[in-house]
C-alpha cells in the first residue's frame, strides 16, 4: 500500500496527533506534548523507521512501551525525556538480551508517541501496530496479556533516575496494581517497558497497522478541514464507523472511583437527531452509548466524541456542559471481539454485567 508508513517524518506529526487522540476514545492523554517531543528528536536528525507487522521477523525481540500515570500530570510535569529508554534498558538487562524493535502499548492518546521517542533515542524501529487499537485504562486490557504473553519482567522509570523492575508478578492484573502504586510514588508520571515478546507472537496478537491508521485518520480530518469538507464524515468514512448522534451535552457528572474518573454525560440530539436523547458512560474512556434507554454501542467498540464543527477529538477532561458534539461509533478490531478478549475488555469487565456486547456492525446502519 502506497500510504503504509516506513518512517515517521515531521510531516506526519500533526496528523498523528489528531488520529491518536480520536482513537483515544476520550482517554489516553493528550498527544500534543508527545508530538512536540517527537518533533524535537527528528530535528536532531534522529530517525524513526517503521516495520509493517507482516515484515517483522519471527525471532525478533519486541518490547511494548508507554507512559503510565495521570493525563493531567502529563501536561504539567513533562517528562525528562528518556524515562521509557531507561525502563527499556532495565528490561534488557533483566533478560540479558538487546531488543530489536519497539511497539506501542496503546495507540489511543499520548502513548502512540512514546515508543517513537524511545526508538529515536535507542536507534530502533517501531512496529506498525499496538496492543489495544484504542485506549483502555488498565494494563491487563492489552492484547499481549489477553493472548497469553506474561508481561514480567517489566520495568518503570521516572524523571529522577529511579528505576523499578518487576521481576515476577502473579498476573497482569497484579502488575497493573503494583505499577499503579509505584507511579503514584514517582509523582504520577513514569515510563513503563514490558517483557520482550517474540516477533511471531506479536504478529498474532498485535492490532495491525495502527500507526499508519492513526496517521491516515488524522490526515483525513486535517484535509477535510483544509478543504472545507465535513471532518466528522471524514472520520466515519476512514474508519467504517457511524454517526450516532449530533448533540449538545445537557448534563455532565464525573466523580472518582478507585482512582478513575467515572460518570456519564446526557445528550440532547439536534439536527437529524432532534428529539433523541442519549447518554454516554465513561471511565477515563467512553464506554457505553445509550440512545433513548437502549444500549447501542459499547466497549470494546470505540465511542468517539468530536467537536461538531472542527472534527477534533474531545477528551473526557475537556468535556463541559453545553458543548456541541458529534458522537461516533467505530468498530473495534476483531482481536478485541473474541471470547477471551471480551472477558477482559467487554462491558462486564467495566462493571456492566447486564450489557451484552453486540458488534456495532451487526446492528446495521441506523442513519
Amino acid at each position: 500500500m502506497a500510504d503504509t508508513m516506513r518512517e515517521v517524518t515531521l510531516d506526519d506529526l500533526d496528523a498523528l496527533e489528531v488520529g491518536a487522540a480520536i482513537l483515544g476514545t476520550g482517554g489516553g492523554g493528550n498527544p500534543y506534548i508527545g508530538k512536540l517531543r517527537v518533533r524535537e528528536e527528528l530535528r536532531k536528525g534522529r530517525k524513526i523507521p517503521v516495520i509493517p507487522l507482516d515484515e517483522l521477523p519471527d525471532n525478533a525481540l519486541v518490547v511494548s512501551l508507554g507512559g503510565i500515570g495521570a493525563p493531567v500530570v502529563g501536561v504539567e510535569k513533562i517528562e525528562e525525556g528518556e524515562e521509557c529508554l531507561r525502563a527499556l534498558r532495565a528490561v534488557e538487562q533483566e533478560v540479558g538480551r538487546k531488543v530489536d524493535a519497539l511497539i506501542s502499548a496503546e495507540i489511543g492518546g499520548a502513548n502512540a508517541m512514546e515508543p517513537m521517542l524511545t526508538a529515536a533515542q535507542a536507534g530502533l524501529p517501531i512496529v506498525d501496530g499496538d496492543g489495544m487499537g484504542r485506549a483502555f485504562p488498565e494494563m491487563q486490557m492489552i492484547t499481549w496479556s489477553i493472548y497469553g504473553q506474561r508481561s514480567a519482567p517489566a520495568a518503570m522509570a521516572d524523571e529522577k533516575g529511579n528505576v523499578v523492575v518487576f521481576r515476577e508478578t502473579q498476573s497482569d492484573k497484579w502488575l497493573e496494581d503494583l505499577a499503579r502504586a509505584t507511579v503514584v510514588a514517582m509523582g504520577a508520571a513514569a515510563g513503563l517497558a514490558q517483557a520482550p515478546m517474540r516477533g511471531e507472537f506479536v504478529k498474532r496478537a498485535a492490532i495491525p497497522n495502527t500507526v499508519t491508521q492513526a496517521r491516515n485518520l488524522g490526515r483525513a480530518v486535517l484535509d477535510a478541514n483544509r478543504e472545507h469538507r465535513d471532518p466528522v464524515q471524514a472520520v466515519i468514512d476512514h474508519e467504517g464507523g457511524r454517526l450516532l448522534m449530533t448533540a449538545k451535552i445537557s448534563d455532565l457528572q464525573r466523580h472518582l472511583k478507585g482512582g478513575f474518573a467515572v460518570g456519564h454525560l446526557s445528550l440532547d440530539g439536534y439536527g437529524n437527531f432532534q428529539g433523541d436523547t442519549g447518554r454516554i458512560n465513561l471511565q477515563n474512556e467512553f464506554l457505553i452509548f445509550v440512545r433513548n434507554d437502549t444500549v447501542e454501542v459499547c466497549v470494546p467498540d470505540l465511542i468517539v466524541v468530536l467537536d461538531a464543527d472542527t472534527g477534533h477529538p474531545i477528551t473526557t477532561e475537556m468535556l463541559r456542559y453545553g458543548q456541541r458534539i458529534a458522537v461516533l461509533g467505530l468498530p473495534c478490531h476483531g482481536l478485541l471481539r473474541t471470547p477471551e478478549a471480551l472477558a477482559v475488555v467487554g462491558p462486564a469487565a467495566f462493571g456492566y454485567p447486564d450489557v451484552t456486547f453486540v458488534p456495532m456492525q451487526s446492528r446495521g446502519g441506523i442513519r
Binding site: 512536540l36 493525563p71 504539567e76 510535569k77 513533562i78 499503579r180 466523580h255 478513575f260
Partner: protein, 514 residues
C-alpha cells in the same frame, strides 16, 4: 456614582457616560493613529454631550485591544529571560519550543532551566539550588536583559519555588521586573509559561500605555482612578494592568457581551455583535460570557487563560455582496471603515450588506433610493444568505432549546431580522456603543484553580477554602467585600491520583469599592 466607559477598537473608539445605571451620553469616533489622542477626544466629546463636569466623574473604565494587537503584530515586545524550575523533569521541551520563529525572535528566545518544581501532591521534584540561580542571574545580567518570566512545575498547586527564585534573582538583578506563571495561568506548564513570557515581554509597553492613559485623562481634566477591563469582564487597576497586560487579550468581545446584557436587562442570551467587517457571536450565562474550555491561540502561541467562547464570521455592515450571474456571494471581503465612501447608500459604487437591508426597506440608513440599481429579487436572496450565516453562528452557540433572546449590538446590527431561529431579537438602546457600556459596568473578580485532596477534607470544605481564597483575591483587587458573590465553580476529579484528588476552579465577583 458617575463613570465613563471607553472601548478602544481597531476601527472606532467608543465612550459613554453613566450615572449609576443610567446612560447619560454615548459617542463613537474613529480610532486615531495616536491612540491616546483618540481616547482624550472621545472623552471630551462624551462629557460635552452629557453636560457632566469632569470633576464629578468617579472612575473611568477602559477596554483596549492594544496588548493583543502588539502580540499579533510582534511589536513592542521586549527581550525576556524565561526561567523554568523543573529539573530533572521537562528538559525535553524547553521554554518557547512551540512558538512561531518570528514570535520567539520578538522576545529574544533566551531561556534557562534549573532545579526545582513540585509534584502534584506538593512534594519537591528537587530542591532549589541557590548557586545555580546565582549563575543564571549573572548570565541574564550579562545578556543585558531585565525582564524575567519564571515558571515552575505545579506552581498552581504551590507557588513557593517561583517566589523564592524571584527573591534570589532580585538580589543580583535589583532593577529587573518579574512575571510568575502561577499568577497568570492554570495547569499545563507550556501554556502557562507561554502566557507568562508574553506577559513579561509586554510589561514595558504596559507601563508606557498606563502612563499615556494617565496623561490623556489628565489632559481632559480627569483626576479620578481608572481601570482596564480584562478577559472575563472584570476590572484591573493601573498597577495590576502594568503587571498583567496579557489579561486584557479578549476584553473586546467580553465588553460587548456584558454591555448587551446590561442594556437589555437579559442575563441569559445569545449576543450577536456586528461590526464593519466581522460578527462575533457569544453566549451569556448569568450575565457573563461563557468561557472557552480549551487552549486559546494568541498570535500562534498556545495559552490557557480563560477567554470567552466567541465564534466569529466574516460578516459586517461593510461586507461586500457580489451578485454575479445567478450566484450571490456575501463576503468575506469588506469595505471596512471606508463604508461611508463606498457603500451605495452613501453614494459609493460597492454593494454592501448595509445596502441590502437599506434597499429592502429594513433599515433607515443613507439614501435607500441609490440601491435601486439592484433588483429586489437579488437583494432578497442576499438577505436570505446573510440571515443564514448569522443563524448558523447563533445555532452554534446556543446550548439549550430554551427560548432565550438574541441581543443584537454593534454598528452593523441593523442587518439582523426581528426573529431568528425562532428566537426574539432584541436591539437595545445605545446598541452601537454596547462595548463601552460593558467596560463601564466592569466588576472585580477573584479566581482559584487548584488541586485539593478530598482524603483529608470534605468536598464542601475544599470548596469553602477555595471560595475564601478567591474572595481574598477579589478584595485585594478592590472589590467591596459586602458585594462579593460566587460566579462560577467547577470541580474535576483527576484520574489515577489517589486520595480523591480533585481540581477546583472557582471565581467570585463583586462591585467596585466606592
Amino acid at each position: 456614582m458617575i463613570r465613563i466607559g471607553v472601548d478602544v477598537g481597531g476601527t472606532n473608539t467608543d465612550a459613554v457616560v453613566m450615572d449609576g445605571d443610567k446612560i447619560l451620553a454615548g459617542v463613537k469616533s474613529p480610532t486615531t493613529e495616536d491612540v491616546m489622542g483618540g481616547v482624550a477626544d472621545s472623552i471630551t466629546k462624551v462629557l460635552d454631550q452629557s453636560g457632566v463636569p469632569a470633576g464629578r466623574v468617579s472612575a473611568v473604565m477602559i477596554g483596549t485591544t492594544h496588548f493583543v494587537n502588539a502580540v499579533v503584530e510582534r511589536q513592542h515586545m521586549v527581550r525576556t529571560a524565561a526561567v523554568r524550575l523543573c529539573l530533572p523533569a521537562a528538559q525535553c521541551l524547553p521554554p518557547m519550543v512551540d512558538w512561531p520563529d518570528d514570535m520567539r525572535e520578538a522576545v529574544g528566545g533566551q531561556y534557562w532551566m534549573a532545579k526545582g518544581g513540585h509534584e502534584f501532591d506538593g512534594r519537591e521534584i528537587s530542591p532549589l539550588d541557590m548557586t545555580e540561580l546565582d549563575d543564571i542571574a549573572a548570565e541574564i545580567g550579562a545578556a543585558g536583559i531585565n525582564t524575567i518570566a519564571i515558571s515552575s512545575i505545579f506552581s498552581p498547586v504551590s507557588d513557593t519555588m517561583e517566589r523564592r527564585a524571584m527573591e534570589r534573582l532580585k538580589e543580583r538583578l535589583p532593577d529587573a521586573n518579574f512575571t510568575l506563571s502561577s499568577e497568570i495561568g492554570r495547569l499545563g506548564i507550556l501554556e502557562r509559561e507561554n502566557a507568562a513570557i508574553m506577559n513579561a515581554s509586554l510589561r514595558a509597553l504596559s507601563r508606557k500605555t498606563v502612563e499615556a492613559f494617565t496623561t490623556a485623562l489628565q489632559l481632559v481634566g480627569l483626576t479620578c482612578p481608572y481601570y482596564i477591563t480584562q478577559n472575563d469582564g472584570t476590572l484591573m487597576n493601573r498597577d495590576f494592568v502594568q503587571a498583567y497586560p496579557v489579561l486584557t487579550f479578549a476584553s473586546g468581545p467580553t465588553n460587548s457581551m456584558r454591555g448587551a446584557s446590561f442594556l437589555s436587562g437579559e442575563s441569559d442570551a445569545i449576543v450577536v455583535d456586528i461590526g464593519g467587517t466581522t460578527t462575533d457571536v457569544g453566549a451569556l450565562v448569568k450575565g457573563f460570557p461563557r468561557q472557552a474550555s480549551t487552549t486559546v491561540d494568541v498570535g500562534g502561541v498556545r495559552t490557557n487563560f480563560r477567554m470567552p467562547d466567541v465564534y466569529s464570521i466574516a460578516l459586517g455592515g461593510g461586507t461586500i455582496v457580489a451578485a454575479g450571474g445567478d450566484a450571490i456571494t456575501v463576503g468575506p471581503r469588506s469595505v471596512g471603515y471606508r463604508i461611508l465612501q463606498e457603500a451605495l447608500v452613501f453614494g459609493g459604487k460597492t454593494l454592501t450588506a448595509t445596502d441590502v437591508v437599506a434597499g429592502l426597506g429594513l433599515a433607515d440608513v443613507g439614501d435607500a433610493a441609490l440601491v435601486g440599481v439592484v433588483d429586489d429579487d437579488r437583494l432578497q436572496k442576499a438577505k436570505e444568505k446573510i440571515d443564514e450565516m448569522v443563524s448558523n453562528a447563533v445555532e452554534r452557540m446556543r446550548v439549550s432549546p430554551d427560548p432565550i433572546p438574541i441581543l443584537a449590538v454593534g454598528g452593523g446590527s441593523i442587518l439582523m431580522p426581528d426573529i431568528m431561529s425562532g428566537l426574539k431579537v432584541i436591539r437595545p438602546n445605545h446598541y452601537s456603543v454596547a462595548n463601552a457600556v460593558g467596560a463601564a459596568i466592569g466588576q472585580i473578580s477573584g479566581e482559584v484553580d487548584r488541586i485539593f485532596s478530598l482524603a483529608s477534607i470534605s468536598r464542601e470544605a475544599a470548596l469553602a477554602e477555595a471560595r475564601k481564597e478567591a474572595t481574598g483575591k477579589a478584595i485585594a483587587a478592590g472589590a467591596n467585600p459586602d458585594s462579593i458573590e460566587l460566579l462560577d465553580q467547577e470541580d474535576v476529579p483527576l484520574a489515577y491520583l489517589p486520595g480523591d484528588a480533585t481540581r477546583i476552579r472557582l471565581k467570585v465577583v463583586g462591585s467596585l469599592n466606592g
